[in-house]
Amino acid sequence: MENTNKLEKFFMSEGAFAVFMALICSGVFAGTSIFIQYHTGSFSTTSVTVMLSEALTTGSFAAVIGYTGGFLLARVLEGPLVGILDIGGAIMTGVGAGLPGLLLSMGYTSLVENFILSLLTGAIIGVVLAAVILGIRKLMPGGYSSMGTDIMVGAGNIVGEWFGPIILIMAAKFDIWTGLGAMLGAVLCHTKKSPIIGGAILGAMIVGYIAFLLGFTTLGIGA
């Protein structure tokens, strides 16, 4: 009991932030290693993962690095100011896609592609980022401005709103059955007041698959 209390106290301390950063960055960075090997398991958001896939096939990482680097910088500067580091922009996108892209483009491929090395690389990145963030917290006087984060959150919300309807259009463009399925799923989600994107994707897949099995459509494959 005594030991548990000590542990609980330690993980409430300022410095323990570095432990959590090492854990999450190690996992997310190595997740990208799995992604390169198996094409599954990337922790980055869907659109950034698509960017990373593109970069891996074309060998041109500039767009990924540029996009994710800006976000990583902004989030690391913002995190210590508000007390909450946004793991979406900083870790999933920055550490999960930007930094692997950077290392790959510089030729340090084994740091990313070797699973054990990728775990270590990720942990080191986590500790370094934690040191920067805790350092800024020590130096920063109060009342720093918001880095325009609210504006970017606004843009993120716009994109989030567009994603659902675009899935619906794409589903209907691909096949009438996937379109109907997406429609059904989106309507169900919307009436339950949850985002329509999950329902649209799953609906298109389930109804499209059933229609394919029943022979209503060939889906353009195996006809």
Binding site: L23, I65, Y67, L85, I87, L202
Partner: protein
């Protein structure tokens, strides 16, 4: 397959432990540094210590993440933003029968390792086992949609936000956006940087240390990227 399962358990356990522990620390921010997102904090508060609410909220996102992982190989940001924090909170509260246990970073870290390992392994192998027809459907629908998002919707969204935010945001987003489009092939990073620099110039003026540093950083970054892409 075994290789993928073992790696998924390791990666999921590590990332889950960090995300859940960091999420618990959000309840104590800004006194100590937490991590997650403001929306995650709000959503955890909305479930208000009820394990069933925490579990069902996360479950909704498990399905959409399954769609994403099949379509693109991305677990989607919902795994660490929503499923792991919510299910870890549910598990911690159910195990300790203490409604405030989700605020304890140590307990949440342990639950997070279990939840993360299970969810990541499930998603990674489920995607591999799903019928190829299913994967084709996801690919033909989700991938073109994600491409459209990448360009032009993403840059346009940032551009509109920048133009609406103020004079300097709009000016810098437009300058950097056009440069980014021609140098990097996508205007988004330019628009993001434009918002950051614009905010700095609006808050502190052109000659402040921060504005000069940021403009210098952007200039160096553009030059480096142009060099690596063989633009000169």
């Amino acid at each position: 397959m075994l290789d993928l399962v073992i790696k998924s358990i390791i990666v999921g356990g590590l990332a889950g432990a960090g995300a859940a522990g960091g999420a618990a620390r959000m309840f104590h921010a800004p006194g100590i540094q937490g991590m997650g997102a403001f929306r995650t904090l709000g959503e955890m508060n909305a479930c208000n210590g009820d394990p069933i609410a925490h579990f069902s909220y996360g479950l909704g996102f498990l399905f959409s993440s399954a769609g994403s992982v099949v379509g693109t190989g991305s677990l989607s940001s919902d795994v660490l933003h929503r499923i792991v924090p919510q299910w870890s909170a549910g598990l911690t509260i159910a195990a300790t029968k203490d409604k405030t246990a989700s605020n304890n970073p140590f307990k949440m870290m342990i639950s997070g390792a279990v939840v993360g390992a299970a969810v990541v392994t499930f998603l990674n192998t489920l995607a591999g086992l799903i019928p190829s027809t299913m994967a084709t459907i996801a690919e033909k629908i989700v991938s073109p949609a994600a491409e459209l998002i990448l360009s032009p919707i993403l840059p346009v969204a940032f551009w509109i936000s920048a133009l609406g935010a103020g004079k300097w945001h709009g000016v810098f987003a437009t300058v950097f956006g056009v440069l980014a489009q021609s140098i990097m092939g996508n205007a988004t990073p330019g628009c993001v940087l434009g918002i950051l620099v614009g905010q700095s110039v609006q808050d502190e003026g052109f000659t402040s240390k921060r504005s000069i540093l940021m403009i210098g950083f952007v200039a160096v970054m553009f030059l480096l990227i142009a060099y690596f892409r063989g633009k000169f």
